[in-house]
Amino acid sequence: MSSFKDQDMISLRDMTIDDLWTIVTKAQEVKAGKHRGCLRDKTIASLFFEPSTRTRLSFESAVVKSGGSVFGFADPGSSSQKKGESFSDSIRTVTGYCDAMVIRHPVEGAARLASEVATVPVINAGDGANQHPTQTFLDLFTIHEEFGRLKDLKIGIMGDLKYGRTVHSLTHAMALFGAEMVFISPPSLKMPQTILSELTDKGISYRTANTPEDAADMNLDVLYVTRIQKERFGDPQEYKNVAHGYRIDKNTISVLGEQVRIMHPLPRVDEISEEVDKTPNAIYFTQAHNGVPTRQALLGLVTGGIS
């Protein structure tokens, strides 16, 4: 897209490598103190049709820090959909109250539908198992901040690769930058074949592994860890056995090499030992904090406060 003003942010599939560069660069500028007040006189609707902590709070923090105002709801119980109003009508109404809207919804494609109905830019803050583009933007910003580049990186992506929308979007984005990737997961939670085929079609080199130690020879720059969700396993003992093998501790870091940086979209349960938190390898809290400048930059771009 030549200009971000008035554009919707629904899916990584709509974006080019230049778009991703623009967002990373502007987030960097915001973090460095530029574009103060870029949302002054702007009102942002924050419509969370399912609960979220980090995403909602960091969006709301981003609006306030940039001088804008924010309103909305944090759970579907407080929306008029409970009274039987259609989703489209809710969006048609709220579009007249704000300059941009942020939507999280449990149904896949809800943000796309909202963008067709709304007359203001719509930002997808997660639609079911489909997309969560702003998580990917902040992941890219964090990787760039740490390494000074997005090209020629070696990335391990670990955990629930079958259902995790975050890892699907990150894989798509890193493929645009030509990263070398390794997918580490239990056999039952492997990366879907459709995504692996897309990588093959693009000529991206990847491999799969059962444990992080299997990727020790790659000298990974980043190990991106995601939660293995208990509810994916019928047998609690099976979950326990699998989860145990996917716990990152200081020993894992020494096997992977001191250069490796550990990322996680949070919340973590027990997949990263707390002893890792204080090592220079742990960048997951910085990553979470980077959600604010990234979302400030994005909101500034779509509302015209940043050009």
Partner: protein, 153 residues
């Protein structure tokens, strides 16, 4: 005594031949012909090209649009289309699978906005060889399943 015609000739309209048996009724459904004018169907004719048999559909007094005949390719890629005017063939139309599908295919993902929030069904061609399409809402890729094709929305 053998009948002169198994499916009578039409003077004006569209003839769709080489539909794999028994999909002629499905073609009627996806074209939304149910309540529109006269059409005749022949089911289960012998065919060299289609070992399982072929169906023929003749639609009177209606020239199908190219967008409509391309939709037929989703379930009958080898179908032949003849446009009839004044009793003779005025056009032999070649069909190809459409780049976009609107309305006639239901997304197999039960949690898709088209199934849950009333979004209008829309798919784009993902891979021509595999005949796969990507839903423009939930973004899942799906193969063509005749059972998921319905009357236009």
């Amino acid at each position: 005594m053998e009948r002169a015609y198994k499916v009578y000739a039409i003077n004006n309209g569209t003839v769709i031949d080489h539909i794999p048996t028994p999909l002629a009724l499905k073609v009627v459904e996806i074209l939304g012909l149910g309540n529109e004018g006269i059409f005749t169907i022949g089911v289960g004719f012998l065919s060299k090209r289609l070992p399982g048999g072929k169906d023929i559909l003749k639609i009177e007094n209606r020239i199908l649009l190219e967008s409509e005949t391309d939709t037929i390719a989703l379930i009958a890629p080898d179908a032949t289309i003849n446009i009839i005017k004044d009793g003779s063939v005025s056009e032999k139309r070649i069909i190809s699978i459409p780049k976009s599908i609107y309305g006639v295919m239901q997304c197999p993902n039960p949690n898709c906005a088209t199934n849950k929030l009333g979004a209008h069904r829309h798919f784009k061609l993902e891979d021509k060889e595999d005949m796969t399409y990507r839903c423009q809402y939930c973004e899942r890729v799906t193969e063509i399943i005749p059972g998921n094709l319905t009357a236009p929305e």
